[in-house]
Each structure stands twice: as C-alpha cells, then as structure tokens.
C-alpha cells in the first residue's frame, strides 16, 4: 500500500513538474518561432494564437490561387468612399504625381518613393480573389511591385518583425508579420485590370495580400514602418489581427 502510494507520488510529481515546465517553456519556444500573434491577450487571445500558430506552420510559403483572365469579375465592388481630406484631393488633382511612399523604422536606408519610382521597379501582375469579411468578393488582376523588393531596397534590419502600413486617411493602419511582408504575392499595387488602380479600389497605391481578408488590404498607402513591436500601433478595431482566417 505504502509502496503504491509512494510510486504514485513520484509519478504524479514528475508528471506535474514536466507539465508545468512544459507550459512555461512552450510560450518561449512558440515566440522564438514566431507563432505568437500580437493580439494574443484578451478573451480571444488563445483562439487567435491557435489560429495564427497553425496557419504559420501550414501556410508560410503557400501561394494564393491565381485565376485565368476569363474569371475576372466584370463589376468589382469598390467599398467605402475615397478620402475626403484636402491633402488627398490636392494630390488627386495633380494626378498623384506628388504622391509619396515614406519608409522608416528599422531600415538601413529610410526612403520616400514616388509612384514613378515604384513603377520603375520590377512589376508583378496577378489575378487573385479579394474576399471581404462582410461577404462580398471579386476577382481582379492586380499590378504592382512586390513589397519584398521595396523592403530589400531600404534594407530591413535583422530584428524587424512587422511591417506597419498607413493609409493617408488618419487612423487607418494595419500591420503584417515578415512572413506575409516578404511573401511573393504581397504587392504594393498601382494597377488593376490592365489600367491604373481606380481611386475607389485604393488608388494610387494599395497593399494587396491575397492570402488575407479584405480589411488587411489597406488603401491609399502613404507610409510603411518596419518595427519589432506593435505596442505603439493601434490594431484594426475589433477584427482579428491575422486575417488569413
């Protein structure tokens, strides 16, 4: 009797120690491999973390489906209104010739690029599906420069973990991790369906992430910040930070 209980005590003790130390080590390991999303706190934190970790393990290098030209939607839905600010109207009147994309943060060479400069970089065109969490979706051809190309030009520092992108509309910003920022299909888009990117669809510059929902594809991009922490940046309302869903 006493033997059994001693054995039980030892086994239970060892199991408990292993369990507790496992629980203590797991977050560090997960964080080291970039499996913890910035919105890991709060009520939905565990769910967000589980989703993000599984997606990062499964989908880090996967490519969004690209469609044949015949599948392009004839009437793509342009959600929302163009920016109403004076600065945007002035830039629009000038044909966006003075539009600038500022890049700062953890980069070796901060830059301010014009649309002409962006167009001079190698472009990529892809016909992908844009799905909004509201339910609507469409397929369009998107033309732009891959974000990784621009990030290579400004040379991101090794400790960089996120790219924050800002719309010219105040308070409208979002961010992605480096896996999505360096993904070959992540485009700074300036063209759509063979022409200029219409203002309704985010012209002159929109970030396209075909592997994430519509709200991560912020329009009117005017600034990029490379950072290792999102503490000082606001998240997109109550939506999930990772929108590959």
């Amino acid at each position: 009797m006493s033997n059994v209980s001693r054995r039980k005590l030892i086994t239970t003790g060892l199991a408990a120690t292993a369990g507790v130390s496992g629980l203590a080590v797991a977050p560090r390991v997960a964080d080291r491999y970039g499996l913890i999303p910035p919105d890991h706190g709060g009520i939905y934190g565990p769910g967000e973390t589980l989703t993000y970790a599984s997606q990062r393990l499964l989908t880090r290098h996967s490519l969004a489906r690209e469609f044949p030209r015949s599948q392009i939607s004839t009437r793509p839905f342009a959600n929302g209104k163009p920016p109403q600010g004076e600065d945007f109207k002035r830039l629009q009147a000038g044909g966006f010739a003075d539009w600038r994309l500022a890049i700062d943060g953890m980069v070796a060479r901060p830059a301010s690029l014009s649309l002409a400069e962006l167009r001079s970089y190698p472009s990529r065109s892809q016909i992908t599906h844009l799905a909004c969490e509201e339910g609507w979706s469409f397929i369009a051809e998107w033309i732009g420069v891959p974000l990784f190309h621009v990030l290579n030009i400004v040379r991101i520092l090794p400790q960089a973990r996120y790219v924050v992108y800002f719309s010219i509309q105040r308070g409208w910003e979002d961010s992605v991790d480096m896996a999505d920022a360096l993904h070959p299909q992540t485009l700074l888009t300036y063209g759509m369906n063979g022409g200029e990117l219409p203002v309704g669809h985010g012209g002159p510059l929109r970030l396209r992430l075909p592997r994430q929902l519509g709200y991560k594809n912020v329009k009117y991009i005017a600034r990029l910040t490379v950072t290792d922490s999102l503490k000082e940046f606001s998240a997109e309302g109550s939506y999930a930070w990772y929108a590959g869903i």
Partner: protein, 208 residues
C-alpha cells in the same frame, strides 16, 4: 410534404416522447399491456391498441397532467382529415408510437434505446454530415487555407458557394438547437438539465 397538422405532429412526437416518459416511469398501476417487455408487433398499428387510452394506466393524480401534455399527440390519429392529407405516411408510422409504446413499456425501460428512426437519422445527419460540412465550408472561406489546399474551395465551385452552404448550415444548426431547448423546456427543464449534468434521471421530480 407536410401539412401544418402533420408538421405539428412530427415536432410533437419527440416532445411527447420526452414528456410522456418522465410521467409514466413513476406510474404504479400498469394496464393490461404495460408489463409487456417487448411490445407485440401488432401493437404499432392495431386500432385496439391505439384506442387504448393511456390515461387509464396512469395513476389517478397524474391524469390531468398527462392529458395536458398529450392533448395533441394522443388525439384520434386516424381521422378522415389525416387520411386525405399529405402527412398520412408520417401519421401511420409516428402517431402509434406517440400514444402506444411509451405507455406500454414498463417503468424505467422506456428510455432505454428508445430513439426512433427519425431521431437517429437526424442525429446521424447532424453529426456525420452537417458538422463536417460546416467545418469544411468554414475552412473554404479562409484564403490562407485555400492557398495550401485549393481543393477545399474548388470542390464547392468557389468561395461564395462554400459561404452560402455554410450560412444555410448555420441556420439549420440554430433551429436544431432551438427545437431542443423547447423540447427540454417542455419535458421539465430543471429535471432534464440535471439529468444531462449528473446522469441521473430523477423522474419522480418532473415538476418544473
């Protein structure tokens, strides 16, 4: 095709099953058929058995309550209106079970494996068809998952088709839940909830 009357009976047969059992299990004055472990085959369709008024086998003080819960379920099943309606097939297979077997089985055994074909089919459908379909269509709405396993979307013809299926599935599951809440409520909410949590029926306390 179901008439309104038929639909009510279909909904009611599950309710009646639940409501009937709790009351009957504590009955101590069985009728002539009540001790039959395996009810005779003829019992399901025999008019003699159907005419057999359940209330008679019940304890006197339970009569009113039994009538109240079974007023629709035990209403004369084979009337002209029923026979001429589209629900005649359902009434043939279900109505006898409404009034007959719950009463004829001995106390305590009424709940043993007592799910009928319709109930089993519904649960099989929900667990093995609807839930996997909901998970699949849910994954099909994820652009990232679709990028790794394109067939999750392509088998449905596209993300919007998957979304439509997902939404109708949601509606069905919500209705499924609501119907069960109504059933539990009608069968005695506290007792049934206690039974779900503790595993004890406590049939004699069916007063909620």
């Amino acid at each position: 095709m179901l008439t309104d009357d038929g639909l009510i009976k279909v909904l009611d047969f599950g309710l009646a099953k639940l409501t009937g059992q709790g009351v009957v299990t504590s009955s101590t004055t069985p009728g002539p058929c009540a001790r039959t472990r395996h009810r005779p085959a003829s019992c399901t369709v025999s008019p003699a058995c159907l005419r057999y008024k359940p209330a008679r086998v019940l304890h006197r003080k339970r009569q009113l309550r039994y009538h109240a819960t079974h007023r629709r379920a035990s209403a004369a099943p084979f009337t002209g209106a029923w026979a001429s309606s589209g629900s005649v097939i359902i009434s043939l297979t279900i109505t006898p079970r409404l009034s007959a077997p719950d009463v004829h089985k001995p106390p305590g055994e009424a709940e043993d494996g007592s799910y009928n074909v319709l109930q089993r089919l519904t649960y099989l459908f929900v667990i093995f068809v609807l839930f996997p379909l909901m998970i699949w269509t849910g994954l099909a709405m994820s652009p990232a998952i679709a990028s790794v396993f394109p067939p999750t979307v392509t088998v449905f013809g596209g993300q919007q088709s998957a979304r439509t299926i997902h939404f109708f599935g949601t509606v069905f599951l919500v209705l499924f839940l609501l119907v069960h809440i109504v059933m539990v409520y009608r069968a005695g909410f506290r007792n049934r909830t206690r039974a779900m949590i503790t595993g004890r029926a406590g049939a004699h306390k069916e007063h909620s």
